[in-house]
């Protein structure tokens, strides 16, 4: 949190969420172009809104905010749960809606040494522990759906948006774990030191959040 004379620094996730998030910010009256994503610039000042956007890999957003190099951040609940950073979770932006689910082959039966492959090892182990199951968690970085198909794991934990990929690979959603939407998060110190600016941004965003988002 460099002071920057009251400039709000916002860490934005590059990729999937960015378009929807920037649209929401524009609807809230913050003049943010929708094409930062295509440029290679990593820091994009928007002086007319008193803001500066930091383009980050989504999983890194909570880290930037926790250390205070960004005052605010936009990040999926999935990442929040996995990273477990000490930050304020201020608003449910109601965008990038999907769900975290346990997925397997349709003929899944309990196995002797259950193995779960996932990009979210913390979320997965916590979930199974809470449900009284001890499983071995294997961390993968992509193409999680492969794991049950080639016998690396008997189940996977992953995000499901439409279920198209699952169907194409002959997998079924066995259990929905929780709903995922994008959140507005704030650094602990910024939340106090820049409270007015943050509160006013929250109010403007709340007014335009899709109804079912439930701020």
């Amino acid at each position: 949190m460099t002071d920057g004379g009251g400039i709000l620094k916002v860490a934005m996730p590059k990729g999937r969420i960015y378009k929807q998030a920037s649209k929401l910010f524009r609807e809230a009256g913050l003049p943010i172009p929708d094409d930062f994503d295509d440029s290679r610039r990593l820091i994009v000042p928007v002086p007319e809104a008193g803001m500066e956007f930091i383009m980050a890999k989504p999983v890194d957003v909570p880290t930037y905010v926790e250390y205070g190099v960004a005052d605010l951040g936009v990040v999926g609940k999935d990442v929040m749960m996995e990273e477990a950073k000490d930050v304020y979770e201020l608003l449910d932006l109601g965008i990038a809606r999907c769900r975290m689910s346990v997925i397997g082959l349709p003929d899944w039966k309990p196995v002797i040494h259950p193995r779960v492959a996932t990009k979210y090892p913390r979320v997965a182990s916590q979930y199974f522990r809470e449900h009284g199951q001890q499983v071995e968690v294997i961390k993968l970085n992509g193409s999680i759906e492969l794991a049950p198909l080639i016998g690396l794991a008997d189940r996977i934990v992953d995000m499901v948006e439409t279920g198209q990929t699952l169907r194409e690979n002959g997998l079924v959603e066995m259990k929905e774990m929780f709903q995922v939407t994008s959140r507005l998060i704030a650094n602990r110190v910024s939340y106090r030191m820049k409270n007015e600016a943050i509160q006013s941004l929250c109010d403007r965003l709340s007014a335009v959040i899709p109804a079912q988002g439930g701020g």
Binding site: Y88, R188, M193
Partner: protein, 407 residues
């Protein structure tokens, strides 16, 4: 893990080189001196404590304690804060000392190793405990002293957010009477700073609409004394009203101290409920992502050491303050004394005399007269000299060069 390389140390512990130490000592001196002027006497306790006493009593969660076993298999902790050790001393060595007790400390405290940068396993805290006074005056004194200490440390721009666990407890008891599991869920969200989760839970609870709106409105309730007045309208619960009464009185005292510009009341600011029993606060500095101090009232701790008493205090996170304070203390001028074997006695006597005056003196036997000549020339030209990697503002040469000139 593979064998550590020679330069490595465990993750989360730090070396402090001379310039950092002089800055750290400067902060430590000014803060402790400030505390002394408020009547707080410094205390030291051991680094090691028993897990079953101080370890269990401390506010640090079990998995964050740095634990060791002694040769008999008894669990030992490296102290995780100074509050629990001080409570132990107040309940034992200081048992006969009448209350109130005002104690200060500067010490390194420890946490279990974590991999993330910024989560140190050893760091410095400078703080005070005020034991045996339950009044709002005492809590306000602690906050005013925290402010004075931050100023003494050289932190220029900061804010203190104050809350009271009694208010939220009372309000939850009033709105959700007897529904403890639900109260716990809501408190859990506030503790984790998860406002989204808090609203989601409120949304699905069977609850009167007016109460729901009120519990949600709490998230925006912060500011100065007016917050207390608004909060009084919100709750008829006795505990909640008492908490607000306490905060209002504290505010008046802070007003009298003339420091209320730094303070902000935020009723969602709650510390760990199992530890804090009254007001809690945190301090934030511009340009630093983490709080620089925290404190509060913990009236249940002393009973665990056999001397039940109300107590309140705070700790500055001195290691973090080191990062925000940019002014380096001016390095004091050093004197270099160069001598030969023949003039050694004379030179070292002069060094002792200057040191007694408080000067910093480095003595060196000269390798050859040419070097002494170079130093003298340099000194006469510019006033400052560099010699073997160090800088000096004064030079004295004994028994060398043309006539052994000295200044």
């Amino acid at each position: 893990m593979s064998k550590p390389k020679g330069f490595e140390k465990p993750v989360g512990v730090k070396d402090y080189l001379p310039h950092a130490v002089s800055k750290l000592r400067g902060i430590e001196r000014s803060v402790l001196d400030c505390m002394r002027r408020w009547g707080y006497e410094q205390i030291m306790t051991p680094t090691l404590e028993y897990y079953d006493t101080v370890g269990v009593a401390s506010a640090t969660s079990d998995q964050k304690l740095f634990k060791l076993l002694n040769q008999r298999g008894t669990t030992i902790v490296l102290r995780s804060d100074m509050t629990a050790p001080i409570a132990r001393v107040v309940g034992s060595l200081l048992k006969e000392q009448p209350f109130p007790l005002r104690l200060s400390y500067h010490a390194s405290v420890f946490r279990a190793f974590e991999e993330d940068a910024g989560r140190d396993a050893e760091f410095f805290q400078t703080g005070v405990e005020l034991v045996g006074d339950a009044s709002p005056e005492a809590d306000a004194e602690i906050i005013a002293l925290a402010i004075a200490s931050l100023q003494a440390a050289g932190v220029r721009s900061f804010k203190i957010a104050v809350g009271h666990v009694g208010f939220m407890n009372g309000l939850f008891e009033e709105t959700l009477p007897g529904r403890e599991a639900e109260q716990e869920e809501l408190k859990g969200c506030l503790l984790q700073r998860d406002h989204v989760g808090y609203r989601h839970i409120l949304g699905r609870l069977a609850l009167d609409e007016a109460w729901r709106a009120e519990l949600e409105g709490i998230l925006r309730l912060r500011g100065g004394r007016e917050v207390c007045d608004q909060a009084l309208l919100l709750s008829l619960n006795e505990g909640a009203r008492k908490a607000i009464g306490h905060l209002s009185e504290m505010w008046d005292v802070l007003d009298a101290y003339g420091v209320q510009e730094h303070v902000l009341i935020d009723l969602t600011m709650i510390g760990d409920f199992s530890y804090y029993t009254g007001m809690t606060f945190e301090g934030y500095a511009a340009n630093l992502g983490f709080p620089v101090c925290s404190g509060g009232r913990y009236d249940n701790l002393l009973a665990q050491f056999g001397r039940p008493a109300p107590a309140t205090g705070f700790a500055l996170k001195t290691t973090r303050i080191l990062e925000v304070v940019d002014e380096e203390p001016a390095a004091p001028e050093k004197t270099l004394i160069v001598y030969t074997e023949k003039t050694r006695g004379q030179a070292l006597a002069e060094a002792q005399r200057l040191r007694a005056e408080g000067r910093i003196v480095v003595t060196e036997i000269a390798a050859d007269p040419a070097e002494a000549d170079r130093l003298l020339r340099e000194f006469r030209q510019g006033g400052r000299i560099a010699h073997r990697g160090a800088e000096y503002g004064e030079l004295a040469v004994f028994g060398l060069g043309e006539g052994g000139a000295r200044r």
